[in-house]
Symmetry: C2
Subunit: 163 residues, 2 copies
């Protein structure tokens, strides 16, 4: 089997942007939900920001988005598999990004303990596979059924190291 092509986190997303909307629409429709203007705004904002953002960041990157709608819609988008919620860093605050099924971009996170910023990175396919295998072994040994794994790097980003 040919390993999925490895792309830098930023580039992996570009070629599918065209059909993201219809993919989202489909997923929502399947769940009896509508792809309303507000939801479209959220999805577009997430795509533009292209990194895990907090709800606060999302709200002021999305003109006219009410707080309650942000929460409600992110919840809907989460259960329909459109966005992915990640909870990172000591600064707590959940962050959201488009789900990997939409970006075709399996990645991990760099978490800066200095400023709380979160960025994406990828690891070599070989290691990714070794990880998956090892985790599968752990899982089957314990009766745990994995749906996903998370690999994050915690430390200080270049900017915070400088200061």
């Amino acid at each position: 089997m040919v390993p999925k092509l490895l792309l830098p986190a930023v580039a992996g997303q570009r070629e599918r942007t065209v059909d993201v909307d219809s993919e989202v629409a489909m997923r929502l429709r399947r769940a009896g939900q509508r792809y309303s203007t507000g939801r479209r705004g959220i999805v577009h904002a997430l795509r533009a920001l292209n990194r895990p953002v907090t709800i606060a960041e999302l709200i002021d990157a999305t003109p006219g988005l009410a707080v309650s709608s942000a929460y409600r819609n992110l919840a809907v988008l989460e259960v329909t598999g459109v966005v992915h919620r990640i909870v990172l860093g000591a600064d707590d605050h959940a962050r959201f990004e488009l789900a990997e099924v939409l970006t075709a971009n399996h990645h991990h996170h760099l978490i800066c303990t200095g400023c709380g910023a979160v960025d994406d990175f990828t690891v070599p396919a070989r290691l990714e596979k070794a990880l998956t295998d090892a985790l599968g072994a752990v899982a089957s040994a314990t009766g745990f059924a994995p749906t996903d794994h998370r690999l994050d790097l915690v430390g200080t980003c270049a900017a915070c190291t400088a200061s």
Copy 2:
């Protein structure tokens, strides 16, 4: 520049329980803090529970621990490197456990999306090393200075799979 070394994988965990108290006392003293009865209670509870617990769990596992003291002391214990805060799962809620420097036990987490339970596991030393190396490479390429990594498995635990 060579990236800072990450923690090596270590298997044994039980042998250091005896001097945990003095180790904690030392770390607190170094920070100008006291190892009070309340803090001792928290550390002992964490050691007894031996898994990442929420503040609520900790409070009712520790008789006479006031809510505010729990928060304040966990904050102190966190910055002094005695406990480690982890934020996992969609159920949010931070969890705390004794820091790895005290348990000599580098491990990862199994997170059940069904019941929110969190458990520990370890991966083979070889994989742990491969991970560390790969992450070091990623880090030095981006100017990120890693202090730690996190590898978690997300899925459904045996109990939740059954139901």
